[in-house]
């Protein structure tokens, strides 16, 4: 990573920390510890299942909300507040700015996820009293969640490069929801015919496939995750993120900062 991208990423991370974004960890900790205690009291034999499901879903949702709400303002807020003027009047290329912002947000989410993961394992230990070998797959689920965050960050950044924060939020959330049902959309495409089939298939493959990245339920049921899926998801998420970021850069490179 070049020095300018690193500086922009560090500053983005610092902004998130000073804007008290990591305070969400307190809410997460309260939710998880409360949930663990409650589950420990009412469930018999499925404590592990409930805690893993609850914990990983919370990690995913908290992260998605942060990714979208910070991501949608990453570029547009800088234009609106004119902080961008003194950055781009320096030897900083526009693509470096976009990529630096992306890494800053991705770094924030990675740190956030790290602490939340500790919380998940803590809650699991509390209800199950010991770790099982299959709990290692929780790490895979967390890895997929981080891949999901990378895609969402890039999407939010893409919308932020040409749209207002409000519209960007609507677009990004919509895309996240549609992407969560990408597999269903592909199934629906196979049931249609003619131009509709072509159109639905194109849409199904264009939207991010978040359903493939969601292995929370499998992990909660202590099912193993295939190495091939890990490779496929890694390649898919990195490719989708790179393409989306390229789109954001292409738009931002041509934008007049009035």
């Amino acid at each position: 990573m070049n020095a300018r991208i690193y500086s922009i990423a560090s500053n983005t991370f610092r902004e998130a920390v000073r804007d008290r974004v990591l305070y969400n960890l307190i809410a997460f900790a309260l939710l998880l510890s409360g949930g663990a205690i409650f589950v420990g009291q009412i469930s018999i034999g499925i404590e592990r299942l409930v805690v893993v499901n609850l914990g990983l879903t919370a990690v995913s949702l908290f992260g998605i909300v942060i990714a979208i709400f910070i991501g949608i303002g990453l570029v547009s807020k800088e234009i609106e507040k004119r902080t961008l003027y003194t950055v781009l009047s320096r030897p900083v290329r526009r693509w470096e700015f976009v990529v630096g912002k992306f890494f800053g947000l991705a770094g924030t989410l990675a740190v956030n996820t790290f602490f939340m993961a500790i919380g998940v394992f803590g809650a699991l230990l509390y209800v199950a009293h010991k770790f099982a070998a299959s709990d290692a797959f929780i790490l895979v689920a967390l890895y997929f969640i981080i891949l999901e965050f990378l895609i969402v960050c890039a999407i939010a950044l893409l919308f932020s490069s040409f749209s207002s924060p409000l519209l960007s939020a609507v677009f990004a959330f919509s895309l996240f929801i549609v992407g969560s049902f990408a597999d269903d959309l592909r199934g629906f495409a196979s049931l249609t015919h003619g131009i509709t089939r072509w159109f639905v298939t194109a849409a199904a493959y264009l939207v991010p496939n978040f359903s493939a990245l969601n292995v929370i339920s499998a992990v909660a049921h202590q099912q193993p995750i295939a190495a091939q899926l890990i490779l496929q998801n890694t390649f898919y998420a990195l490719f989708y993120t790179a393409m989306t970021l390229s789109g954001a850069v292409l738009i931002f490179e041509r934008r007049n900062l009035k």
Binding site: N11, E15, R18, R82, T86, L88, S89, R90, R93, N256
Partner: protein, 325 residues
């Protein structure tokens, strides 16, 4: 006096050379109606000078600066800065920019802000700390270097803006309305700083609509109005245009009849009288005052002020527009 499209003498390197830079925005619901923010602009700013870019609000000053900074893309034309294409990142390492009414990352302290900008400008880590201390001292922010910018007043933000513009020792600085929001003392300090920069060999290009600042500071000025360049010239030339009249001030509460007979335009203010007469009548007027035993205070040739030149250029354009209409 130079005019638009000013040519440079051979072998002289310009700090800025603007070649037909033009900006047209498409406005309206369908983006079909053109609005000319800047007509093709030709302008050259030489190295080491303080150049004032003057014009009323909405004249096109900020648009020009934004195009030079690469923030807005021109419809046509180009520019060279310090002898190189203005879009090259290497050029940007040698320039500083203070935007109009600057706003910075308010969660940072002044020191952190400058450290960040130092990194982006490529100032080596070993020099950065020293440079930051130097510029903070220079703009008078040393005492508050650890305070977050959200607690800064408008004047303090302006100082922070100037600090970030000169932190990396640029060869050329662009200031967009640098006196905006400053009190008289602050304006004086900024003027002193700009003069110091000039003495250090830095070229200064600044936009303003405060003509007294431009007259006091600039070697040359350009006047822009409604996106069109109206005139360019050295301030000395523009203001040394003696109109063949002199101003005489003497101590009295009355105007002697002999002065009235000369057709002098007189104005009594307290115990002083100020009269404007033609240069040819100067000796006769002095003799007349001596005869009346009146104490003469001063005789000054009348000069055209920059303000008068500015107003003339603006009125000329309005008259032309009216005639054409």
């Amino acid at each position: 006096m130079r005019v638009a499209g000013a040519l440079l003498a051979p072998f002289t390197m310009s700090a800025i050379e603007i070649i037909g830079l033009e900006k047209t925005y498409m406005v309206g619901f369908w983006h079909k109606r053109p609005k000319h923010a800047l007509q093709p602009l030709h302008l050259a700013v030489e190295e080491g000078e303080i150049f004032g870019f003057l014009g009323p609000n909405g004249a096109g000053k900020t648009t020009t600066l934004k195009m030079l900074m690469g923030l807005v893309f021109p419809t046509s034309g180009s520019a060279r800065i310090l002898g190189r294409d203005w879009m090259e990142p290497e050029v940007k390492a040698q320039i500083g920019f203070l935007p109009e009414q600057p706003y910075f990352y308010d969660y940072l302290t002044a020191h952190e802000l400058l450290d960040y900008y130092g990194q982006l400008s490529g100032v080596p880590a070993k020099d950065r700390k020293r440079r930051i201390e130097e510029v903070l001292q220079r703009v008078g922010l040393t005492e508050v270097k650890g305070v977050q910018l959200r607690k800064f007043s408008k004047g303090m933000l302006q100082r922070a803006g100037i600090a970030q513009a000169i932190l990396h020792k640029p060869k050329l600085v662009f200031f967009d309305e640098p006196m905006s929001g400053l009190d008289p003392l602050g304006r004086r300090e900024v003027r002193d700083l700009m003069e110091q920069l000039k003495q250090e060999g830095t070229s200064v290009f600044f936009s303003t609509h405060i003509l007294s600042d431009a007259e006091a500071l600039c070697d040359r000025v350009a006047i822009i109005h409604k996106g069109e360049l109206r005139g360019v010239g050295a301030v000395d030339e523009l203001t040394s245009n003696v109109q063949g009249k002199v101003e005489i001030i003497w101590q009295s509460t009355q105007v002697p009849a002999s002065m009235k007979a000369m057709g002098a335009e007189c104005r009594v203010s307290g115990d002083k009288v100020r009269a404007v007469i033609s240069e040819r009548q100067q000796d006769a007027a002095i003799d007349a005052l001596r005869r009346e035993r009146i104490r003469l205070i001063s005789i000054t040739p009348l000069r055209t002020s920059l303000e008068a030149y500015f107003v003339e250029k603006l009125q000329h354009s309005q008259t032309t527009a009216g005639t054409l209409a």
